[in-house]
């Protein structure tokens, strides 16, 4: 069993917690006693944070829409389709016809890359996320 220190993924308090990992599965969680916010406790969501990670509903393969239905596909197929879709939209309607939603659940690095991608590659400032919601 390993304990891996990480940060809770729910609210903006930013609790430090340990994930108990056994055979590549997260089987439990414990707060950090010395973390300045968690101070040895988590809320009910934090204490059960391991329960959704291995849920069978997790998406485990890319999906693409074929004949109206989402079906499993390879990463290359999904990425090519997306690159095509965005490129074609930009060519046809201009870059400001593309919109990007970032995520308050993704890391800073990912959000940075996504806004860089939106501005430098897609050529628009149409990027936002759920800060208002």
């Amino acid at each position: 069993m390993r304990d891996v220190m990480t940060i809770c993924c729910y609210c903006g308090c930013g609790c430090g917690l340990y994930l108990h990992v056994e055979n590549e599965r997260v089987v439990g969680v414990a707060p950090s006693r010395h973390h300045p916010v968690s101070r040895n406790n988590l809320c009910v969501k934090g204490w059960h944070i391991h329960e959704f990670i291995h849920h069978p509903d997790r998406l485990t393969s890319p999906l693409v829409r074929k004949k109206g239905r989402l079906v499993p596909a390879t990463w290359d197929e999904a990425l090519d389709l997306t690159a095509d879709g965005l490129r074609r939209c930009g060519e046809k309607h201009g870059p400001d016809a593309i919109g990007v939603l970032a995520s308050a659940k993704c890391t800073n690095e990912e959000n940075y890359l996504l806004q860089k991608f939106t501005r430098a590659v897609l050529g628009t400032n149409n990027i936002d996320h759920c800060a208002r919601l």
Partner: protein
């Protein structure tokens, strides 16, 4: 029954002794990590791990015997293609039985293991999952010369020094460990590795006695556990106390999860795919409202105050009735961690105070 033996071990010899034991056993000991948190950790490299005997581990040994989530069995849904009839089949999954030496276990945590043994290894209803993990465990405990800030094991009679339960109990005498052997396995261990030990002499025994005496004087908390049990048994706890504390409870379950003797669990079937899944046992807490939810939505204890009452009554009254002692071991872990400050010390001091005032008013 073997008589307790008193021995002495040079402080330098602890790691060499553990190295010998590690050849045949898994080692678990408190380790202070790079974040300053002390956790019971499986030690794989004795040379690059420093065992921390100075701080209380933030969690007890409970997760090693009764993990937060425990897969009891896998189930497969068998569907007969001819008739369409569905059936379950179960495939039990027992945890590995790994001989383990638990080192640096404080008295309260050792006592808690003895308590959970009563729950899970009860004569007629043995819990095989617990037993599998519990068998072949060796406990090298450490007596507390200096109790921590929130400790009150003196009031629950589960420390700071133990009489029994351990395999070996170490007392820090400055330059050496005073070693007491408890269970047979501990005595056997000192015989197998006799080279690390010498018999204790009178001076050692006096030093050990002195350490124990001084430790008892160092508690910072004065907690009237027995008085609390008495007041609860006599139903002399004002409802307002439960009301006050309940309105501060934030329903996190943390007190039960961190408690070394809280053993309530829930069992759920968790599908993994369409063909089957796992039956999982996970920690539960009596402060949750869903704890008493019944099919159809009725809940027999659906008032806030009922839940907090349930917790403290279980710890301080029902267990006294059943086992002759409260199931609180005075480790102090629930103190300071509760969002609303609803902890054992606050509860007991509130009811003791109310008890005293009540007595005065009666006179």
């Amino acid at each position: 029954m073997m008589m307790n033996k008193n021995l002495v071990m040079n402080k330098d010899y602890l790691v060499p002794l553990l190295r010998k034991l590690a050849k045949t056993h898994r080692l678990v000991a408190p380790v202070r990590n790079e974040y300053g948190d002390t956790l019971f950790t499986i030690i794989t490299d004795l040379d690059r791990t420093e065992i921390d005997l100075d701080h209380q581990p933030q969690a007890s040994l409970k997760p090693y015997f009764f993990p937060q989530t425990d897969t009891l069995c896998r189930y497969v849904i068998d569907c007969d293609p001819a008739t369409g009839a569905m059936d379950y089949s179960f495939h039990v999954q027992l945890p590995q039985n790994r001989p383990t030496v638990y080192v640096g276990v404080r008295s309260c945590d050792m006592f808690a293991v003895m308590y959970t043994d009563m729950v899970f290894l009860h004569e007629h209803e043995r819990d095989v999952y617990y037993k599998q993990r519990r068998d072949n465990a060796i406990f090298i405990t450490i007596a507390c010369n200096t109790p921590f800030d929130n400790c009150f094991c003196n009031a629950t009679r589960s420390g700071p020094f133990l009489e029994s339960g351990f395999d070996l109990q170490l007392t820090d005498l400055g330059d050496r460990w005073f070693v007491e052997t408890g269970r047979a396995r501990g005595a056997g261990l000192t015989e197998d590795w006799a080279c690390f030990f010498r018999p204790a002499d009178e001076a050692d025994k006096r030093a050990q006695f002195q350490a124990e005496l001084e430790a008892r004087g160092r508690f910072k908390q004065l907690v009237h556990v027995d008085l609390a049990s008495k007041l609860l048994a006599e139903d002399k706890v004002p409802e307002s106390i439960f009301r006050d504390l309940s309105s501060r409870c934030q329903d996190c379950g943390g007190c039960a999860f961190i408690c070394p003797t809280c053993t309530c669990f829930n069992i759920t079937d968790q599908p993994r795919d369409e063909a089957g899944g796992e039956r999982v046992r996970s920690w539960d807490a009596c402060t949750f409202s869903g704890f008493t939810a019944m099919a159809g939505g009725h809940n027999s204890v659906d008032v806030e105050t009922g839940r907090i009452r349930r917790r403290f009554l279980h710890k301080l009254q029902y267990d006294v009735d059943r086992h002759g002692r409260p199931s609180c071991v005075g480790c102090g872990r629930c103190v300071g961690m509760c969002f609303g400050g609803v902890d054992m010390i606050r509860f007991i001091s509130m009811i003791s105070e109310a008890g005293e005032n009540g007595a005065e008013a009666g006179e």
